[in-house]
């Protein structure tokens, strides 16, 4: 009984849905505010993201006649569930509520599911924009998932352990991993840009070319669930980065400050770049990012 209540609190409140959504919403607002200020504008107020969610949840969701409605409803649910589980397992500060011994691999899998859900969503909504968007998302996923996974596993191989809590505890004693494996850190940070849909690699959602990309035919409640996913991503992915490479943080305050640093870094990179074409982006990952990840991976295998 107590365990069930504990599990529900951990899943839905802290560090699950409510906490991650709140912190993710604030980080997303900071990204928009920094972007506006650097473009000589003023920017939205802090409650803008939450008001957008309320508006989307109050509208009707239109499902096109010729699609498979069941799959169209399941795709956002997949991506939301996987992110809630990944948020629940993430150690905030140095304690983790649901961590276990192999959670590095499980988190890598869970964080790949939102991209797959977008591919499904683009294909099942019968619009040409969705088809083009989902094919672009598939190509860019092939490009970035490999260096992303290799950099994450570099750290695991060094410690001969696959538990994120062990990695965090090691870094609190011996120093953060970005000093030991700088190339893997750089490769990992560059892979975050297409994962969160930021320039210069946001070709799947390019709004001047293919209106909404995979999400063109979504509206109302289903689009609201995709927006919740977007907000959660802004917390979970910087948290993952900080846990793996930047020391983790001895208490939640230090942890959140380090996540803030990652968010600001991603915002500045997004603002000063135009958008790569999909084949140019794909080639960029194979030419520059994959060698960096490979070098550090081989280093961690050979020199423990």
């Amino acid at each position: 009984m107590i365990e069930t209540i504990n599990m529900l609190i951990g899943l839905l409140i802290y560090p699950g849905l409510a906490f991650s959504l709140l912190v993710g919403g604030i980080f997303y607002w900071l990204y928009r505010k920094v972007r506006a200020r650097l473009q000589a504008r003023i920017g939205p107020p802090w409650y803008q993201y939450f008001m957008d969610l309320i508006k989307l949840f109050s509208k009707e969701s239109i499902i096109p006649y010729s699609t498979r409605g069941a799959v169209m409803v399941l795709a956002p649910i997949f991506s939301l569930t996987s992110l809630i589980l990944a948020a629940a397992m993430m150690p905030v500060g140095s304690r983790s509520i649901f961590g276990f011994d192999e959670d590095l691999i499980v988190t890598l899998y869970l964080l790949a599911i939102p991209g797959l859900a977008m591919i499904i969503a683009g294909n099942v909504s019968e619009s040409p924009y969705g088809a083009v968007g989902s094919s672009r998302e598939a190509s860019i996923m092939v490009g970035y998932e490999l260096p992303y996974a290799l950099s994450a596993l570099t750290v695991g191989f060094y410690l001969r352990s696959l538990s994120i809590s062990t990695i965090v505890r090691y870094q609190i004693e011996a120093g953060p991993f970005f000093m030991k494996y700088p190339l893997a850190t750089v490769a990992f940070l560059m892979c975050l840009l297409p994962k969160m849909g930021r320039r210069p690699f946001d070709a799947p959602e390019a709004d001047t070319e293919i209106i909404g990309g995979p999400l063109t035919e979504y509206s109302g409640l289903l689009l609201g669930i995709f927006e919740v996913t977007n907000g959660l991503k802004w917390f979970v992915i910087p948290a993952f980065t900080v846990n793996l490479f930047f020391g983790g943080g001895a208490n939640p305050i230090e942890f959140l400050l380090k996540c803030l640093g990652i968010v600001l870094f991603l915002s500045v990179l997004d603002i000063i770049h135009p958008r790569y074409r999909i084949d140019q982006g794909f080639r960029y990952f194979f030419k520059w990012i994959l060698p960096l990840a490979l070098i550090d991976f081989v280093r961690s295998l050979i020199w423990p």
Binding site: P128, P274, R275, Y276, R277
Partner: protein, 384 residues
């Protein structure tokens, strides 16, 4: 096996409504068609029911970005029909307003072009600098758009010495901006990857399609109505016509950038040499029976007006041939063979103005149906 991707009437890449139907195979474009007719307003027919003077204000509203171009060309054609010559000071003031609007239009184009490739930061900065050009226009004409500065026989407002000082300050700011834009365009590697070698229009193809304006000058054709057939104050002003040989999107961008610098130079010369005198001639005869033909160099190319009068105060026929009508023919040859991601920037690089393009709508009153013609249907009718 090709699917149809509509760059349809509603699309974030288009400023106005037009229908470009692309046939794509994966990400590559293999064919397409082009449909106009969504923005037809019947302006040429309405012009036969209003007097010559009222039509100045009507023709300003053909296009949203190039207002004074239409009004100047129409006024010059009517003055040719009536046989009156505006005073010298009026011609210089018309030139100043014309070139200030060219600066405003090219800076708007830069912003839109940057937005099409996703560079929102540069888009915001260029539109911030555009405000300086709009303040010049607001101080001379009283409004930021739809100026109404022309009247038959001259202009309606004068430039006081205080306004000349304001113009000089703003021109200094604009010159610094143009230098900065040049550096922003050149220093960015991602931008270069997106615009270089994309959307090539070879010189022979450009000549065959009869394109005009920066589209033609970017492909090596050296044509400019301000130099070949001078009007207003251009015979007394010294300026260059930029021409590039590449034929791709980058060449057209560089042509527009150099035209901005030339416009600043023209306004400086015109303000420095402004002759004294009246701003409008007092005589207004009725037009004689006959025809007149006038052309100017609009921001997108060569604009042509044809006027026919039957001796009364109402024109009998006014025909407008805007530069976008000919430039839009070059969209399909440039786009076939490129990827979908390049279509918005190629479309934006010829600076299409679909409000100026619209030609014909067919009403079938028996079946009560209204339809537009596609380009291939129109060509089929002419037997080509």
């Amino acid at each position: 096996m090709s699917t149809v991707l509509p760059i349809g009437p509603f699309h974030p890449a288009l400023k106005e409504a037009a229908f470009i139907k692309l046939e794509v195979d994966g990400e590559k474009v293999v064919g397409g068609d082009f449909k106009v007719g969504y923005m037809h307003r019947g302006i040429e027919e309405l012009a036969t029911r209003k007097t010559y003077h009222s039509n100045i204000f009507l023709f300003e509203r053909v296009c949203g970005i190039c207002n004074t171009v239409h009004s100047t060309c129409y006024t010059q054609t009517v003055e040719a029909l009536m046989g009156i010559e505006p005073p010298e000071r009026a011609k210089y003031i018309r030139t100043i307003v014309f070139e200030a609007e060219r600066i405003q239009s090219h800076l708007l184009w830069f912003g839109v072009g940057m937005h099409e490739i996703g560079y929102d930061t540069a888009y915001m900065y260029m539109w911030r600098e555009r405000e300086h050009a709009l303040e010049i226009l607001e101080s001379i004409c009283g409004k930021r758009v739809n100026f109404g500065i022309n009247t038959i026989g001259g202009v309606r407002r004068d430039i006081t010495p205080e306004k000349e000082r304001l113009i000089k300050t703003k021109l200094d700011i604009l010159e610094r901006t143009i230098g900065k834009i040049g550096k922003i365009l050149v220093e960015d590697k991602v931008l270069e990857a997106r615009v270089k070698g994309v959307g090539i229009l070879p010189k022979e193809e450009a000549r065959r399609l009869c394109v005009v304006g920066p589209t033609a000058r970017g492909s090596g054709l050296n044509m400019d109505t301000r130099r070949d057939d001078p009007y207003a104050a251009y015979p007394h002003i010294d300026f260059e016509v930029p021409v590039e040989e590449g034929g791709d999107v980058l060449s057209r961008t560089l042509v527009r950038l150099r035209e901005l610098a030339q416009s600043v130079k023209i306004i400086r010369q015109a303000t420095a040499n402004l002759p004294k005198g009246p701003v409008a001639s007092e005589s207004l005869p009725l037009p004689t029976v006959g025809e007149a033909f006038g052309r100017v160099e609009a921001h997108r190319g060569e604009l042509v007006y044809y006027l026919r009068s039957n001796g009364t105060n109402f024109p009998e026929r006014v025909k407008v041939r805007t530069p976008s009508v000919v430039n839009n023919n070059s969209i399909l040859p440039m786009v076939v063979g490129e990827t979908i991601a390049d279509v918005p920037i190629i479309l934006a690089s010829i600076d299409p103005c679909f409000a100026c393009t619209d030609r014909v709508t067919v009403l079938d009153t028996r079946k009560n149906v209204e339809k537009t013609f596609t380009l291939s249907e129109l060509r089929g009718r002419r037997g080509r």
